[in-house]
Amino acid sequence: MSASHYVDVARSFQARGDVPAWLQAFREEGLSQFQARGLPTSKDEEWKYTPVATLSSHPFQPVRDVSAGEDVAQAVARLALPGPRLVFVDGRFVPALSVLTGLPRGVVLKPLSQALREDGALLQETLGQFSRPSAHAFTSLNAALLEEGALLTLAPRALSEVPVQLLFLARGGDGPVLASPRIVVVAGEGSEATLVETYAGLGTGATFTNAVTEVSLGDNASLRHFKLQAEGDTALHLGGLYSRQGRDSRFQSHAFSFGGALARNEVHAAFAGEGGECVLNGLFVGRGTQHLDNRTDLDHAVPHCSSRELYKGVLDDRSRGTFHGKILVREDAQKTDASQTSRNLLLSEGAQVDARPQLEIFADDVKCAHGTAVGRLDDNALFYLRSRGISKVDAERMLTQAFASELVRAVPEGPVRARVEALLAEKLPGSAEVMG
């Protein structure tokens, strides 16, 4: 299997036709970019630690139709938050399980397939605008197969206090399934919302989710973005989040990466106006032979912006994780205030982490701090807990939980945090009773 498989898949997908010319052109451009780049190899600096062969281990293909049976309904009941939501199975929209009521005035949420018909003008000027400059093979492949996903638009000063949820279930069909959701968020001036993307697995079919999210924040707008990735242990997951912030806007990304045989979470955030604030938080928890990549790329292009970045990894068994965080402070970006922290906890001898901060600073009046740490559970703390009667496995769980709790507590109290806590509880070793 190689790039040619995906090229064939994209060609036959594009041959279905019957779409507006601009969309066909967008897909074709994606395909030609993908062809030009080819699949990443381990020689690419960006993919050095990633087992890239996994990405073409099966002949993944998009599916045309899905049936949403009892398994899907149960998963939705387990994972959905109160409030509006769109549900997708293997990349296809499932209207019957989606909820489009309860959206506040000025907030529009619709599946991308519908938006492609109704909002062509908006999408033409938005799609690929931020992801293109730093596009890589899989962002291009997502463009080549663009068809479904979601569009969330916020009118100026629109306020959505209830989180908007997108639930992507990877089930796998008769053969290996490729889902390529594209999520577009256009937040008008002074608007405010919370978006939750949840990715989960159903069953054991071979699945590959290749998601791209693009966020455009108007002046003084605010978006809290949560990504809860808890796909099955055999799933492949690549996700790229691209944001561009207007003046005085606030953007928070909280990425929880728990599932997948190979999961890569990328965040590319850029300041386009002064006075912006950006928070990039991430927690990845691996076990077995999971490989969890995290890549962040922060572009301080303009003055007076601040960014706070905290990524933590917890790796057990023979799992492997990476954190590669780049901060670029351009020459004009005076008074930048940036900090980046990567802390990692290894729970077994066989677990590994590669943490690599990369700061490129071209302005001279800035505050930039970064720190990286890799450690193990504190023996003294373990003994202290055990000396009170707490079993070794529960003590380890409590300490691991405590390590991760900083990122859980960064989620505002409410249903989103409760969901994160529940997913984390399933993931950590030991009994659920010791969760605090």
Partner: protein, 262 residues
């Protein structure tokens, strides 16, 4: 009556160095024993070995607790059997709430005894009551374990935990060290309140001062990994007069120098 704790010819090493070189000690239920001695004499090692610290290697000897072998079991099993170690240096554990930690511990012990677990409400009620014993403010229960506690608060937290867990054998490792007199009175008062006829206590201390507040049944003096003298309370008074200098051997002179500090 058989001893609750029976230590026979106990030898142990830490990081390849022999620290305990033949300890013999019998402690009966209801008794309070004080172990004194200069720095480096092995007092804390003895406490750690009894509680099951895994970095300590027992090379010879036996320890029976309530007639059963103690050394072969992990620390949590010893705790469930009723052994409690009050730490010389209580550990700060950011992110783990005091209340949650202690309830988890108590319920693990209750499960082991076949008793019903306490729910959060009942536990809180009980914990608040016990906290009064060492004058700990209820607000501390919502903080992380020992995080940001003063030295005195940490030691009071140890006694508070003992009060909640109700052990049969309490090993208090230098619980008095570093306390000013008010804190010492509170800690000693907590310990005295927990004296009981079915509970034994081994109070390890460097300073005679503690024994003004906790009156032991027996006093033992350790030096260079052995108990070199045992006696009644009068032995403590003798130590106060003479310091550790008369013991001789390793650590003796250093102990005296330390003792002489204001």
């Amino acid at each position: 009556m058989a001893s609750l704790l029976s230590i026979q010819d106990l030898h142990a090493r830490v990081a390849g160095k022999d620290i305990l070189k033949g300890i013999n000690l019998e402690v009966g239920a209801g008794e309070v024993h004080a172990i004194m001695g200069p720095n480096g004499s092995g007092k804390s090692t003895l406490a750690g070995v009894l509680a099951g610290r895994e970095t300590y290697e027992v090379t010879k000897g036996s320890v029976l607790f309530d007639g059963k072998d103690l050394l072969g079991t992990p620390p949590e099993e010893r705790a469930k059997a009723g052994v409690f170690l009050g730490f010389q240096y209580p550990v700060e554990i950011p992110g783990v709430g005091n209340l949650h930690f202690l309830r988890t511990a108590l319920n693990a012990q209750r499960r082991a005894k076949g008793e019903e677990e306490l729910d959060a409400m009942d536990f809180l009620q009980m914990a608040k009551e016990k906290a009064k014993l060492v004058q700990l403010d209820a607000a501390f229960m919502n903080r992380s374990v020992n995080e940001g506690f003063s030295g005195g608060e940490k030691k009071r937290n140890e006694i508070f935990q003992m009060a909640v867990l109700q052990p049969r054998l309490a090993l208090l490792d230098e619980t008095d060290s570093g306390l000013d007199i008010d804190a010492l009175r509170i800690v000693a008062g907590g310990v005295n309140a927990l004296r009981a006829k079915d509970r034994a206590m081994v109070v390890i201390t460097h300073y005679q001062r503690l024994l003004d507040y906790i009156v032991p049944d027996r006093v033992h003096v350790m030096s260079a990994g052995r108990i070199v003298r045992s006696g009644g309370r009068e032995l403590a008074l003798e130590l106060e007069e003479k310091g550790y200098g008369w013991i001789g051997g390793e650590g003796g002179a250093a102990g005296k120098a330390k003792e002489a500090r204001p």
